[in-house]
């Protein structure tokens, strides 16, 4: 009895044509075009998609990285902090000098101040958005006149820190040059007394001073602001 394998081989031999497949097509006037296998076409499609993705990724990195690592304050997604988003930590005066380099005035010559604080966001205490002290009392003599000033002082280290009353500083309408610095200020006349809002820039910091007369004994006007800038600031 023959095995299945032998039977299969015999059938194949009997059915085998005397000519090739191409010759069969030619004899029967059949035009044959070989098609690529489906799997091969999928591979080409995949490669095309991967190439496009790679190019898109490179383009995105080229555009995105400079924005992500830029320090520009114009970046619209910049995180902003107001006074309720921040905490304070006390630092010493020598630490302040070491960190900012230029403080703007000599705090050791003041008659009093509350304390010096490093201002940091509650959400990220590693970041410093500024340094501040308040109720700084300073007395100076100019042209034999005693001036007694009281002021709050902020050194802003991060331009996204929108502290209270920042708009009053940006509304400054007067300028004074003293030494190498350009001071902008505005005097706002209130019902009882006036306050000067003074600001200037140096290096990477913005400086803001809320200046009033100590116990309202010294009137705040252009002359007293000039005395303050020339005798207290820039020292």
């Amino acid at each position: 009895m023959a095995s299945n394998k032998k039977i299969q081989n015999k059938i194949t031999e009997m059915l085998k044509p005397d000519y090739s497949f191409e010759e069969f097509c030619s004899r029967n006037d059949i035009e044959y075009t070989e098609k690529q296998p489906v799997r091969s076409r999928m591979k080409i499609f995949k490669r095309l998609i991967m190439s496009i993705s790679a190019v898109a990724a490179v383009v995105a990195l080229c555009i995105g990285l400079p924005i992500a690592f830029s320090n520009s304050s114009d970046t619209t997604n910049m995180k902003r902090y107001s006074d309720i988003d921040v905490l304070n930590a006390v630092i010493r005066y020598d630490e302040l000098v070491e960190k900012v380099g230029y403080v703007g005035f000599d705090l050791n010559k003041s008659a009093s101040y509350t304390d010096i604080f490093r201002v940091m966001p509650k959400s990220n205490r590693e970041i410093t958005v500024g340094y501040t002290t308040s109720s700084v009392i300073y007395g100076v003599y100019a042209d034999d006149i005693a001036y007694e000033f009281e002021f709050d002082y902020l050194i802003r280290a991060y331009s996204g820190y929108d502290f209270n009353d920042i708009e009053l500083y940006t509304a400054a309408n007067k300028t004074m040059v003293s030494g190498e610095l350009n001071y902008n200020y505005i005097i706002n006349e209130g019902p009882l007394y006036s306050i000067a809002y003074i600001s200037f820039e140096k290096n990477d910091y913005d400086y803001y001073i809320n200046l009033r007369g100590f116990h309202e004994k010294t009137e705040i006007d252009d002359n007293s602001v000039k005395v303050f800038i020339e005798n207290v600031l820039g020292k």
């Binding site: 006074d83 921040v86 905490l87 304070n88 009093s112 009392i137 209270n164 209130g190 306050i195």
Partner: protein, 271 residues
């Protein structure tokens, strides 16, 4: 049977999930300078035009201290602690080792020393303050406990009323007696303490607007009555002089008649 067990389990699950996660005794609002769910904030400029105006104002000749605790959620501690500093000029033992000073012949609260910091830490504990803030009841009991520990008696007088939830007439009367008050607000604005700024023909006010709960020390008031050309009262702006508790603009004005909700306000007196 299976259906019956499913119904029973469903009822058990429903009753378990309806148990409040916060214990009932801890549901009282905590006042801190943190946002409590609001998102709107920023500034608003306001101009008030008038023909004539009348100003009724007073602020303590001693101003207000602007010291701050370094701890989070401590605005009520700041307000209460600064009240203790304010009254320390009358009772020197109220804040141990702290002493006010005189500069150029004028009264001043001086530096924030360790004595001030220790007092803040003590109040933080006595008030049961957390990073989320302080409850009104915690504030009152913490202040009483602290005053008692210093051999003093503290009296609180609630001065809520019909004018923007404030009994403004009585509050004014008592502030003029050199008392201070503490105000608990939910949504408020702070303006520069020389507001309103005088412009040509109108008053200008810049409001720094905050949503959320906050506590501040009150040491005076300024009530503005604006009249039109026919002499009729057109508007009224009522401000309280406050120690804000903020790093900048440490002293400011709280306008209780616009952009503000007063939750509670208490006069403080120590004897």
């Amino acid at each position: 049977m299976v259906k019956f067990i499913s119904i029973i389990m469903g009822l058990v699950f429903a009753s378990l999930t309806s148990i409040p996660l916060i214990p009932h005794g801890d549901t009282e609002a905590r006042y801190s300078s943190d946002f409590q769910g609001g998102t709107l904030r920023g500034t608003q400029e306001r101009t008030i035009r008038y023909t004539t105006r009348e100003i009724d104002q007073y602020k303590s000749p001693y101003g207000a201290p602007v010291f701050r605790s370094y701890k989070e959620g401590a605005c009520s501690v700041n307000a209460g602690g600064n009240a203790m500093i304010y009254y320390d000029r009358l009772y020197d033992d109220l804040v141990p080792d702290y002493k006010h000073t005189y500069i150029f012949g004028s009264f001043d609260y001086g530096r924030q020393t360790n004595a001030v910091n220790n007092m803040f830490d003590d109040l933080y504990t006595r008030m049961g303050t957390t990073v989320d803030g302080t409850t009104v009841s915690g504030f009152l009991s913490g202040m009483r406990s602290y005053a008692s520990s210093r051999g003093r008696y503290i009296a609180f007088e609630k001065v809520t009323g019909g004018y923007h939830n404030t009994n403004i007439a009585y509050l004014k009367e008592q502030l003029k007696k050199e008392k201070v008050a503490v105000v608990f607000v939910d949504g408020f604005s702070i303006s520069s303490n020389n507001s309103p700024i005088r412009r040509d023909g109108y008053d200008y006010v810049l409001h720094n607007i905050y949503e959320g709960l906050h506590t501040m020390l009150v040491y005076g008031y300024a009530d503005y009555y604006y009249y039109g050309s026919s002499g009729n009262l057109e508007s009224r702006d009522t401000y309280l002089y406050v120690s804000t508790g903020y790093a900048t603009s440490s002293l400011g004005l709280l306008n209780i008649s616009v952009l503000c909700t007063v939750d509670d306000i208490y006069l403080i007196n120590i004897s």
